[in-house]
Symmetry: C2
Subunit: 177 residues, 2 copies
């Protein structure tokens, strides 16, 4: 039987971009933002100054050195037994990130083939059975069943099935088998 497919986002789902963003932003701006202090804020309200934010996201090695989200590696490996996994990352806005993301995936998720990696802009034409993402802008228009991965900026959004961590992703998806 054909395996069901899952589109898995990178930033905020596989990669802990929040941790690195807070660190770089505080260094750049002399602020003392913490994970706790930005809960429930939009990305724009959490990190003022679009130019500063874009500067960080465009800086060399930013995406290449992001920490891996807890339990993400083992969970994807386990899911791969029963699902076909596609990594689907909005990346074409930041051309510098493209080869860094491939390098990052190669280091941490070497069991994901290049054929199953998609670096895109809009995710509206991605057709998988499930989509795991932290952004409403992707989940609201996705073709498959949306699964919202908790991030500081989405905790007040209640219109999608929510998972708080990779253990919950596994529980949720294995129930569907």
């Amino acid at each position: 039987m054909k395996k069901k497919t899952i589109a898995v986002d990178m930033d905020g789902v596989l990669a802990d971009i929040e941790a690195s963003l807070i660190e770089c932003y505080n260094k750049e701006c002399g602020t003392a933002i913490s994970r706790e202090s930005i809960q429930g804020l939009s990305e724009e309200d959490a990190f003022h100054g679009r130019t500063i934010l874009r500067g960080i996201l465009n800086s060399e090695n930013f995406f290449r050195t992001l920490p891996v989200m807890p339990d993400a590696v083992e969970s994807l490996r386990q899911l791969q037994e029963n699902f076909e996994i596609f990594i689907v990352s909005a990346a074409t806005e930041f051309p510098m990130s493209l080869h860094e993301k491939i390098g990052w995936l190669g280091e941490h998720f070497p069991f994901i083939s290049w054929e199953n990696i998609i670096l895109c802009g809009s995710k509206r034409i991605i057709n998988t059975d499930y989509m795991i993402d932290d952004h409403s802008k992707n989940l609201d228009y996705c073709i498959g069943k949306p699964i919202m991965f908790t991030a500081f900026h989405n905790i007040n959004q209640t219109h999608h099935l929510r998972v708080n961590n990779w253990k919950e992703v596994l529980e949720t998806l294995e129930k569907t088998l």
Copy 2:
């Protein structure tokens, strides 16, 4: 009304990869391959030596300097009035090509937004109304209506609607409006 969507391949469709490949291969191997001499051959039979071929495809600036296919720019601009265009290129196998492809599109097709660019591996999960591509491996499994763009390696394949150039793409798609 929502515009119909088209996935447009890059190499062999927007970019004349054949021309550059022949030139680089002849230089590398001392051969005298021409467009005419490889008609109807598979890519493997036309360009012997997978290592040499991969070396060319991995070399700096190869993808960045490909010539644009005749009439591609004006045709895409015209199609954009009635369709939503997505550029969908199998690129993750060659990480070097990723930012070069973005740069190339920015130079020649600046009217295509980063949101409509998809650099991928397999195109099986791309859901557009039409897919224009030169490879059966992409067209045979695509979700939308496949349109085969003529290339040396596909001239004997007859199972898809064929277009020989960008003028024919326009004619074919504008008929559907």
